[in-house]
C-alpha cells in the first residue's frame, strides 16, 4: 500500500517536473519567437542607385546598424540607418541623413525615434517619444527657414497600440515567418511618418534567387504599398527581397517614386545573429 502511494507520488512529481520543463521550453520559445532575426551588432551596407534616362548611377551608401544601448533601467537596441552620398555627388547634392530608433531587444517595441535629414541645404529633424501606455506619441519637429534660423513644433499624435516608426518597421518585418505564408498573402504595419499614421502593406510574392555581392541568395519577394498615400508609384513596382534564412536581411530593393526609380543593393553584411 505504502509502495503504491509512493509510486503515485513519484508519478505526480514526474508530471510536475515535465510540466515545469515544458513551461520553461514554451517560455523560451515565445521569447525567442519575437525576435530571432535581428542581432545586436549587425551592420548591413547598401548602395543606392538612381535611374537616370535608363542608366543606373550609384548615388549613396546606406547603412543599417544595430547596437546595444544601456540605461540605468534597461538595455535597449539601437537601430541606426544612415544615408551618405558618394564623394562625387557631394559638391552637387550632399546627403547626410540619420535615422535612429531605440527599441526593446525582444519585442522590437519602439521607445524613441529620431530622424535628422540634411540634404543639400535642406534640414529637418523629427523626434517621436512613444507613450505606449497612453496611446500617443510626443512629436518634436525642427525645420530650417530660408534665412537659416530653425523653428520648432511640438505635437501630440494619437497612435494605435501597434504603431511603429519607419526604422522599426523595417526591422520588425524580419521577424515575420514567411515560410508559412502563401503567395499573395499580405502583412500590414501601422507606421507613423511625418506626424501621420499610415498603413504599410507587404504582399508576399513567393521566393526568388538573387545574385548579390554577398553571394547568390534564395529570397522572399515582397511588394510594398502604402494605403491612402501615393508616395510609392505603380502596383507591385516597389519590391523588397529578404534572404530566405533565419536572418531575413534585405538583399535587394526596387522603388518607384514620383521623381523616378532606383535600386538598393547589398554591399556587405556582418555581425548577423544566425
Amino acid at each position: 500500500m505504502l509502495i503504491k502511494s509512493l509510486i503515485e507520488y513519484i508519478n505526480i512529481f514526474n508530471m510536475k517536473k515535465i510540466v515545469f520543463l515544458l513551461t520553461l521550453g514554451i517560455c523560451f520559445t515565445t521569447a525567442k519567437a519575437q525576435n530571432t532575426a535581428v542581432g545586436n551588432s549587425e551592420k548591413l551596407v547598401y548602395t543606392a542607385t538612381y535611374n537616370m534616362s535608363g542608366i543606373l548611377n550609384d548615388l549613396a551608401q546606406v547603412t543599417m546598424e544595430t547596437s546595444k544601448v544601456r540605461t540605468s533601467k534597461a538595455t535597449l537596441l539601437r537601430l541606426k540607418c544612415t544615408a551618405t552620398t558618394y564623394s562625387k555627388w557631394d559638391s552637387f547634392f550632399k546627403i547626410r541623413d540619420l535615422y535612429e530608433s531605440y527599441v526593446s531587444p525582444t519585442s522590437l517595441k519602439p521607445y524613441l525615434y529620431k530622424r535628422e535629414i540634411n540634404e543639400g541645404g535642406y534640414y529637418k529633424y523629427m523626434k517621436y517619444t512613444f507613450k505606449h501606455s497612453s496611446g500617443y506619441v510626443k512629436s518634436l519637429k525642427k525645420k530650417k527657414r530660408s534665412d537659416g534660423t530653425i523653428w520648432e513644433e511640438n505635437k501630440k499624435v494619437l497612435i494605435n497600440h501597434n504603431t511603429n516608426d519607419l526604422v522599426t518597421t523595417l526591422y520588425k518585418l524580419r521577424t515575420i515567418d514567411f515560410s508559412n505564408m502563401s503567395s499573395g498573402q499580405s502583412k500590414s504595419f501601422k507606421v507613423i511618418f511625418d506626424n501621420e499614421e499610415h498603413t504599410v502593406n507587404f504582399k508576399y510574392l513567393g521566393t526568388e534567387t538573387i545574385a548579390s555581392a554577398i553571394g547568390t541568395k534564395n529570397c522572399y519577394k515582397l511588394a510594398i504599398s502604402i494605403s491612402d498615400n501615393n508616395v510609392l508609384k505603380g502596383a507591385n513596382e516597389n519590391l523588397l527581397w529578404l534572404s530566405a534564412d533565419a536572418n531575413k536581411i534585405p538583399i535587394y530593393a526596387k522603388f518607384k517614386i514620383a521623381v523616378g526609380n532606383g535600386e538598393l543593393k547589398i554591399k556587405s553584411a556582418s555581425g548577423l545573429k544566425n
Binding site: 510536475k16 543606373l56 548611377n57 564623394s87 540619420l98 521607445y111
Partner: protein
C-alpha cells in the same frame, strides 16, 4: 538634311562633353553615340552633295573626347563615401542625448525583463516545490525502511 544632322550632331557632342565632366559621366554615352551616328550620316550626305566636312570633324572629335572620358571614369573612378566626420559626431551626440531621454522615459519593464523574470519566478517557485517534494519523499522512504 545635311545641315540638320550636323547641328544636332554638334549639340549632342557638346552635351556629351559636358556630361562626361560631371559626376553624371554614365549619361554621356547616349549623346556621344547619337553624335557619332549623326556624324557618319553627315559625312555620307556631304560626300553625296560634295560639300565641306570641317564641322563634322569637330563633331567626331568632341564625341570621341566625351566617350574616352566617360569610359576612363567608369573604369578608374572608385565610388567612395565622402567626409562623414560630421555625421559620426552627430551620431555619437544623438546617442548620448537619447540615453538621457530614455532615462526619463517609462520603459515597459515587463517587456524588457520578461524572460529573466519568468525564468526567475519559475526557478524559485518550481525548484522550491521540487525540493519540498523530494524532502517529503525522503522522509517517507526512511519511514518505510
Amino acid at each position: 538634311m545635311r545641315k540638320i544632322s550636323i547641328i544636332i550632331g554638334l549639340i549632342s557632342a557638346i552635351l556629351a562633353v559636358i556630361l562626361s565632366v560631371l559626376p553624371l559621366s554614365n549619361l554621356a554615352y547616349i549623346p556621344a553615340i547619337i553624335a557619332l551616328i549623326l556624324g557618319v550620316l553627315s559625312i555620307y550626305l556631304s560626300n553625296k552633295e560634295g560639300k565641306s566636312k570641317k564641322t563634322i570633324q569637330i563633331v567626331f572629335l568632341l564625341s570621341i573626347i566625351a566617350l574616352s572620358l566617360a569610359i576612363y571614369k567608369s573604369i578608374f573612378t572608385t565610388v567612395e563615401v565622402g567626409n562623414t566626420e560630421e555625421l559620426e559626431k552627430r551620431e555619437q551626440q544623438s546617442e548620448q542625448e537619447a540615453i538621457e531621454e530614455l532615462e526619463e522615459l517609462d520603459i515597459d519593464e515587463e517587456d524588457l525583463e520578461d524572460i529573466n523574470n519568468e525564468l526567475e519566478s519559475l526557478d524559485n517557485e518550481d525548484l522550491n516545490a521540487i525540493e519540498n517534494e523530494l524532502e517529503e519523499i525522503d522522509t517517507e522512504d526512511l519511514e518505510i525502511e
